[in-house]
Each structure stands twice: as C-alpha cells, then as structure tokens.
Amino acid sequence: MEYLGQVLFLLLLVVGFGFFIKNIKKLIRNIKLGRDIDRTDNSSARWKNMIRVALGQSKMVKRPIPAILHIFVYAGFVIINIEMLEIIVDGLFGTHRAFSFLGAGYNALIGIFEVLAFLVIFGVVVFWIRRNVIKLKRFNQPEMEGWAKRDANNIIYIETTLMCFFLIMNAADYYLQGINHTHYTAVGSFPISSLISPIFEGVNPATVAFVERFCWWAHIAGVMVFMNYLYYSKHLHIFLAFPNTYYANLKPQGEFNNLESVKKEVSLMMDPNADPYAAPVEPVGEPEKFGAQDVMDLNWVQLLNAYSCTECGRCTSSCPQNTTGKKLSPRKIMMSTRDRLEDVSKILDANNGKFVDDGKTLLNDYITPEELWACNTCNACVEECPIDISPLSIIMDMRRFLVMEQSAAPVELNNMMQNVENNAAPWQYNQMDRLNWKDEN
C-alpha cells in the first residue's frame, strides 16, 4: 500500500510514453510513404538553419505581437519541462521536491517557472481572444472551420489548465510551507503562486495538502494526455519544426527541381545516336508517375511539411490569390495533404500495412485543380512560413501530374505550351522574327 502512488505513477508513465512511441512510429511510417529525396547534403548549413529558424524563431519576428506571445509559450514549454524531471523523480521515488538540495539555484528555478507559467497563461489567453473575440481573418477562413478551429482552442484550454494546476500546486505548497505542515519544508520561491496562496487561509491543512497532491497528479497526467494529443493536432509542430527546418530546401526559392524521369527521356530525344528501337535497358515495371496525384507521389519532406504545419495561416494571408478572393489557400494545401495522409494511414492500419485503393486521391478529392491553377508561384507562402514549409512544391508537383499525365491544363495554357514547343515562344510568333525589334521604330 505504501508504494501504491509510485506504482500508479510508473503505470501512468508507461502507458503515456507507450502510446506516444506508438504514435511516433506511425508518424514515421506515414512520412516514409513519400518518395525519396536527398536532403543529407550540407549538414552544417542545415544545423544553422534549424537553430536560427526553429530554435531561434527568426521568421516569427516578422509579426511582432504574435512573435512575443509565442516566445512566452515556447519558452514556457521548454523551460517548465525541466520541472518534469523533478516530477518524475518525485513520482518514482516518493520524494517531495527532490531537487530542493540545489538551494538558491532551485529557488531561482522555481521562481522562473512560475513567471513563465504566468506568461504562458497570458499568452494563450491573448491567443484565444485573437481567435475567438477579435476573430482575426487568418484564423477564421473556410479551412479553419470544424476540427481545425476546435483543435486550436483545445490546445489553448489544455495549456491554460496545465499551467493552472502547476501554479495552484505551488500555491498550496507555499501555504503549507508557511504553516510548517508535515514534510512541506520551506523551499523554492513563489513570485506568482504566493499571490494565490491566501485563498487557503483558514482551510483545513489536510484539504490543502489534498489540493496540492491533486494538482500534482493532474499536472503530470495532463502532460501525458497532451503528449498523446499531439499526433492528432497541429500542435505536432513543437517537435516537427526541428526536423522540418533541418530538411528544408536551402536552394534559392526560385529554383524548381528538374524532374529526373523527364531528364532521361529528353536526353534520349536529344541524342542523335539513340536507337529508337532499342529494348529498354531498365527492368520493365510500373513506370514512375510524372508529378503527384496522391500523397505517395509526393516526397517525404513534403509529407513531413504536412505534419509540421501549425495552421497559422501566415502563408494564406500573404498569398496574392487568396487575398483577392480565390479558392487557393496554401494552408489548405498543407491541411488537405495531411488529411489525405491520415486517411491513407487508416487504410494501412486496417489492412495490415497494405494500401488498398479507396477510390480517392489527393488530387480532386482533397485538392481541386481550381486551387492548383490559381497559384502565381510567387513564393510568398514559402517566405512567410515560420518553419520553412513549402506549399508551392506540392502545388507544382500536382500541376505536373495534371499536365504530363492527364493533359488537363486550362486551354489557354495548352496553347501557350504548344507555342513554346512549336515556335520557341509562349505566343504565336515566328522564331525567325525574334530580332525584328532592332529595326522597328
């Protein structure tokens, strides 16, 4: 009976981390459904990019108000989690504030945690107001209806609750320390919770001790729940922002990749010595699709992008087409890609890891050609993304499928492309007239 608490705690950790690992495995499996792309080059530049963009939040500062609020929540999350170490030690060994032997350093740490916890609450309350009261446009666009909106608010509620548990726990502890209740010896500094602790004035110390224990358990249990909520939420970015920025495209934004499969064909066409009747050298198999029709045709970085997206909508609010009322929304491209990937994941789960055609594809069923054809390829969305996601690369791969596999471009574009092929200009001018301007007045 003496060890019941510790056993329960261990069970909580095992179940919590067990599910979490299961989710991570599924996440990796799903990302690996994507085609291969080499992003192992230039590791020092990649580390620098990750440190600057993900750790240093360098792209957030463009919009100073959310940047500061986000720093509160981000710093709170990272630093308060140091406290998790102590909670785990206390939980497993039945100690109380095991790290208090650190003395003055411990007091400072607890003080910092408290201030951060308060700032986190402040930050998320303002976030909630921005989403639900001020109703900022980028949080209330069509793709944000339903689950996306609920998810965003859930995160805010969970974070507020967790921080409240943390502060009330400390407040109760501080009160009990003040009255020298049993093992509650005076340690730590409580700049925020000392302001809350007067509410315990006159309350039975045993009840206060119960509140302290309850909040302690609720906090750790809440953290476990939150950790397992991540997989289903846009909040996955707290982890994935790091690999996402590491594996980001470091080339100039204007450089679009040259399709390897096309290179082979074009070099054959350009080679005067190529034998048109030669048997194919490569083993005959399913030839690779040109472009992307479904998530499996995208590369794994694009799928990682989809899971990393925080749905903040900076991309969409900077998109020239979306801001002029078109259907295209770069954020929706990412959300639809994730939705499809999750549906594919469910099919895999239900069929022992084998994909069974469900008659749906990313193209048409999740993302429409109308969205794809609206894009200006201006890179505003790519520039804007705080964690280096490229909605544009997905749009381009899907356009490639539409054009090269389905010949389904808008008719004006077909004319343009025909002109390029026939007379080396997008308009119907003769190549022999290219220098006429020299002699015109």
């Binding site: 080339k251 100039p252 934004q253 204007g254 450089e255 679009f256 040259n258 399709l259 096309v262 290179k263 064909e265 074009v266 070099s267 066409m269 350009m270 040109f290 472009g291 020239p320 087409q321 002029t324 009322g325 078109k326 259907k327 295209l328 109308e370 054809w373 609206a374 200006n376 390829t377 201006c378 890179n379 505003a380 520039e383 381009m396 356009r399 490639r400 539409l402 054009v403 090269m404 471009a409 808008p410 574009l413 004319n415 343009m416 492309m417 390029v420 092929e421 080396a424 200009a425 997008p426 001018y429 190549q431 007239d433 290219r434 220098l435 006429n436 301007w437 020299k438 002699d439 007045n441």
Partner: protein, 263 residues
C-alpha cells in the same frame, strides 16, 4: 533613332572572331511584346552608350521554357533548356544579362543542373556594376525629385534575393524612392507569375494586379518602376483600370536611366 542601335548577334561576332563581354538574353517578351520591346531598346541604348561589348542570339534564341515549367510541363521546359544550352555552349557563352527575371531565374538556377553553367545577372545588377566601375554615369534629368516606387518582381526578389540593385539605380536619379507596404521579401505579386499571364484568373473578388496597382498608387508615386516585362504589363493594365494613366507611369528601371540620359 533606333537606326542608331548597335545590336550584333553572336553569329556575327563569331564570324569576326570576337567574343563579347556579355550575352544579352532578350527573352520572348523583350523580343515580341510591343511594350517590352521598348525596355529592350532602352537597355541596348545604355549598353551602346557605355560601350559594352555585347551580343544577342537573335533568331537562335528560344524561350527558356520558364512558362512551360511553371505550368507543370517539364518536358517542354527541358526540351527548350537543352536546345538553348546547345546554342549557348556552341558560342562558349560565359556571362548572360537579361531584363526578364523569369529568364534570369531559369537560366541562373535551373539550367546548371541540365549542363548549362553560366554567370547570369539581371539587367539592374549589370547596370549597377557598370555604374560602380565608372563605365556609366546616371543623372537625374527629368526624374529629379520625382516620387518613384519600385515593385519587386517575385523572381528577382524573393526567388533570388536581388533587392538593392534596382533601388540603388533609382536613387542615382535623384528621385524620391518611396516603398510600398509590401516590399522586398514581403513583395506582393503582380499576378502574372506561375504562367498566370497566359490564362484567365480563377473566380475571386478582385484581380491581383489591381490590388497591387492600388497599393502602388497609394504611395502617391508618379512613377511605378518595374524590373520585369510581365510586371510591367500587369501594372500598366492596373493603372489603366484605375484610370490613372495621366498621372502615373509604369517604367522599367532601364527606361528610367535611358530617359534620364535622353538616350
């Protein structure tokens, strides 16, 4: 006046056993579009004035393939690229200047992987280097004290991080350079890129070029400076749509310099 233009072709140069300092890639707009041809001529006038040894490919030039690539037609793009690379390599071209950011981006970033490796600069960068080397002087002339705003072409700015060269040239005109709210990295597209120039826009509430033109007009600039023939077309259309042709002009940076010098 265009009788005075000296525009040698690479073929002529080669026949004379000469190699120019730089190849001027005119591009399809610069060759065929009436508005863009004026930009081409303005740039040639400056090159002539600065005694730059240059040449064009003339009838041997073909679309870089950019619009086809952005539309998703990788075949058409790579065919164009391979043909152009054969021509460029045949003439042993080392350095290319172009007044079109789309050609610039494609030649600079997408050709190397297909075997075409050249030093590629945008005409504003090239003009800036002429200025720095003392080969070109710029005087304000008619633009002295005028309010000019510069529209960042996506494929020059965000795509290739060229923000300063065009601005430094405009400032040399003793003009007052005013910035739109969305400029440099945050520049707002004119609406033409991604092959949109060649098709009708999708259904929406507004046209992209009108949105951008309104922003430019909102700076009270008398001149909207552009560095891209596509942007020029879109913004000129926008100015017409807003019925501001009498008070606002859309000019390429090369035209500003050529006009200031009365070339």
């Amino acid at each position: 006046m265009s009788a005075n233009l000296v525009v040698p072709t690479m073929a002529e140069m080669m026949a004379r056993g000469e190699q120019p300092e730089v190849l001027f890639w005119v591009g399809c707009s610069g060759s065929f579009d009436d508005r863009a041809k004026k930009i081409t001529k303005a740039f040639v006038k400056i090159l002539n004035r600065a005694n730059v040894s240059f040449a064009v490919l003339g009838t041997e030039e073909g679309c870089t393939g950019d619009p086809a690539k952005r539309a998703g037609n990788e075949f058409a793009f790579q065919m164009q690229a391979m043909m152009n690379i054969q021509v460029l390599d045949g003439y042993e071209v080392k350095k290319i200047v172009t007044a079109c950011p789309h050609c610039f981006n494609t030649l600079k970033n997408e050709y190397p992987d297909l075997g075409g490796k050249y030093e590629v600069v945008h005409h504003t960068q090239f003009l800036k280097s002429l200025l720095d080397d003392g080969r070109l002087t710029i005087e304000g002339g008619q633009f002295k004290g005028k309010r000019i705003t510069f529209h960042d072409p996506c494929y020059l700015g965000r795509a290739n991080q060229v923000y300063e060269a065009p601005r430094q040239l405009i400032e040399k005109l003793d003009a007052e350079l005013v910035e739109m709210k969305r400029s440099r990295q945050n520049g707002f597209c004119c609406g033409a890129g991604g092959a949109q120039l060649f098709k009708e826009p999708e259904h929406g509430t507004k046209e992209v070029h009108v949105e951008r033109t309104e922003e430019a007009i909102g700076t009270n600039a008398e001149i909207i400076a552009a560095g891209c023939p596509f942007c020029n077309t879109m913004l000129t259309d926008g100015v017409k749509f807003k019925e501001k042709e009498s008070s606002v002009k859309v000019l390429d940076v090369a035209e500003l310099i050529a006009n200031a010098e009365d070339l």
